[in-house]
């Protein structure tokens, strides 16, 4: 009885299998080897599965490994090696550090610090929340800040609701202040998000370009700073909050969550270890790699007993790490088999008549491509899949590979429109206070603003660093 229902529910899985088999039977187009055709086949099937998600994404990751072996693209050892790299260590280590930080009750300190600085008026509070979320997220990762700060604003909304039952506008402003605040900052430093580590990996392994922690910040951090004031301004104008004075709610919150005295030793240790890791990333990553430093931090948290392994085990979604590992492995295979440059050439062929095939025009085209893709699938997967292609496009067009990489990584964070495109978006939606259309209303405006700011940086700011790779 349920067979057809299942069949219909899995229609995208069947579709992807059909496409996969069909592409195996088609002769490769000119310029592509048979091995390249098989790698392209894996890429297309993986993208369909990433977007439509008929099976759990970690399962797609496992299949990427299996298919590489079955299609004779590499030996099992080579496949295993391509799954694991310093970038994957970095993603793993950063997530473990995230769990250790979230486990502490630092969110309480941060929240009360924001309240003290910004006062009870909604406009200033939204700005304060956005700014603090963004500054923190740029170093400790957007998912960490979303997990820490969303409960704070949800608690505020809940307390305001006691006096004013209808506060959808207020809820949207506060929730998006955290979600978008964290999201705009994920690109600020390499440790802000996994996609940055993937881009660093591609620069190094595909083109031999080494970019340090501070070099990254020099290019990308102004993006964070310029977007901070835009977010609260747009939110206040989009959602028209019903309540502006939050004095009573904040007073209640203080009463409810009692002050736990001065900072505890554990809290100082947590901050201390993170600062040590940050220092390591800035000074030692050229020698030891970002990943090893992150693993050092994670082991310090375990050694000092600030976090238990059981917490790390349940707090980190290891499936996401598999996903990134698989995407990086696939990206390397696309490069090896010549698919990346073939696809880059094809795309450039399309862009040439539009006058977007080199320089700023090409970068704008990449931004728009990423904007579409990142709203359809996971941010990290979008960078992992498109990274090798956009970098090759830049190389073929004689445009800076560094600029193209930054533009790819930064624009991948513009997934404001769809709930599922970012972790912060999903956690915010699970609060039940937002509708999908809220994401479209606020997200479309913010996406436009972000594209403009990014293109301003590309044309006015990055040229100051002189000609690069």
């Amino acid at each position: 009885m349920h067979f057809l229902h299942r069949l219909a529910a899995r229609r995208w899985l069947w579709f992807s299998i059909l496409v996969g088999v069909a592409l195996l039977l088609v002769p490769p187009p000119p310029g592509l080897t048979p091995a390249g055709m098989r790698a392209l086949d894996i890429l297309i099937v993986a993208v369909i599965l990433f977007i439509t998600e008929p099976i759990p994404l970690p399962a797609v990751a496992l299949l990427i490994a299996v298919l590489q072996a079955f299609f004779a693209l590499a030996s099992p050892d080579e496949i295993a090696r391509s799954f694991m790299s310093d970038s994957v260590f970095f993603i793993m280590g950063s997530l473990m550090i995230s769990v250790a930080i979230v486990k502490q009750r630092l969110d309480r300190r941060i929240a009360f610090a924001i309240f003290r600085l910004s006062g009870p008026r909604l406009g200033r509070l939204a700005f304060g929340i956005t700014a603090v979320s963004a500054l923190l997220a740029s170093f400790i990762g957007e998912h960490t800040v979303a997990a820490m700060m969303l409960p704070v604003v949800l608690a505020i909304v809940g307390l305001v609701q006691r006096d004013h039952p209808q506060v959808r506008g207020l809820a949207a402003v506060l929730i998006f202040s955290v979600a978008y605040g964290a999201q705009i900052a994920g690109v600020g430093t390499p440790s802000g998000g996994a996609r940055n580590a993937i881009m660093l990996d591609y620069w190094r392994s595909l083109f031999g370009i080494h970019v340090g922690y501070l070099d990254w910040m020099k290019y990308a951090y102004p993006m964070v700073l310029l977007q901070i004031p835009v977010v609260p301004w747009l939110l206040l104008h989009t959602f028209r909050p019903e309540v502006h004075d939050l004095r009573r709610a904040l007073a209640r919150l203080r009463g409810q969550v009692r002050r736990s005295g001065p900072m505890s030793l554990a809290e100082w240790q947590t901050i201390g270890i993170f600062l040590l890791v940050l220092l390591g990333w800035i000074t030692l990553s050229g020698r030891y790699g970002l990943g090893i430093v992150a693993l050092l931090g994670a082991s310090l948290y375990l050694v000092t007993g600030l976090v238990k392994w059981e917490d790390l085990n349940s707090g980190v979604n290891w499936g996401v790490i598999w996903l990134y590992a698989a995407a990086i492995s696939l990206g390397l295979r696309l490069q090896q088999t010549g698919v990346a440059s073939w696809l880059a050439q094809t795309f450039l062929g399309v862009l040439t008549p539009l006058g977007l095939a080199h320089g700023v025009g090409l970068l704008l085209a990449i931004v728009l491509l990423m904007l579409i893709l990142t709203n359809m699938m996971s941010t990290g997967a979008a960078v992992a899949v498109l990274g090798p292609i956009t970098l090759h496009m830049a190389k073929l067009a004689g445009t800076s590979i560094l600029d193209a990489g930054f533009v790819t990584a930064i624009a991948s964070g513009f997934g404001y429109l769809v709930i599922a495109s970012t972790p912060a978006g999903m956690i915010a939606y699970s609060s039940g206070l937002l509708r999908p259309s809220d994401y479209l209303r606020a997200g479309a405006r913010l996406a436009l603003a972000s594209v403009i700011i990014l293109m301003a940086l590309v044309t006015l700011y990055w040229p100051l660093f002189g000609p690069t790779h």
Binding site: A8, V102, A147, L154, A155, N317, L323
Partner: protein, 317 residues
Amino acid sequence: MRKLLIPISYLPSCQQALEFGARLSISSGASLTVLHVAPVVKNAPLGHKLSGEKLAEWGVEPAYFQLLRQAEAKLNALGLFPHDTQGRPRAKHALKVLHKGLYEVHLIGSQGQAVRLRVSEGRPVPEILREADDPTYDLIITGTRGHRGLRRFLLGSVAQEVAYGAPCSVLVAKGLRTDQPVLVGATGRLTSLEAVRQAGELAAALGTRITVLAIAPSAEERKEAEDHAETALGVLAEMGLGADVAIREGEPAEVMLQEAGQEHILVLGRLERSRVKRYFLGDISLRTLERSSGSVLITTYPRPLGEEPTPVGPILT
């Protein structure tokens, strides 16, 4: 009616469904399950247990918790639970822990019926159908977003898919009220007689009027339509119910929709087809549901355990 299932979400029509179900349960003593399917946060780098812990630290309840509490308050306000002499609710609570850290609340209604409020996590349609697999359910009352055309095609409709896949009758609420008259189509088939019987049961429980509508596709078939109406009246008379009769000519689905409007609860029998046949051949009742602007009850032919499905006549669609 023995047991009702009311899947709820944040839609206004779900509140209509809840209120309707509560009144039905009060008047018929049917057991009631209120189910909310909460979405799961997938593919976040940090496990969702961790963010759950943080929310608990700040005293923020999961959104579904509030929804179910409002539902319980609503059921109480409608008088589903017994009150003591001072007018305080005397509902008995029992918590049952489910897997994944969820739990459900059990209460006892004023007529001794079981009332359950439960949450499950996942995608709505499979979860609702899994719950409905319990053979003691005989009616699902569900709200709907009411999208049509392209939006329905793109977004799908939970109500539609539940009506399509459920093993029991399904009432889809669009402006549903308990004082609405019931309109039932009589086609002379066994499924139609079952629809008439369930329509009668519904009208009796609600205390509202019932109209039997027989449609003749052409003037020559008018006599046949009158016979079908007569048979339907007979079924209702056996239940001790009187009914109005309307005989119309025209294309059955069109006439039915027109006559029902938004005023009536339209009752239609679903053909007893296997899912395979339904998938390929479709079903007039499900297609009518898609186009209706008012509430529609799609009834199934109850299949007693161990018996083969009753063969039905030719398909008219």
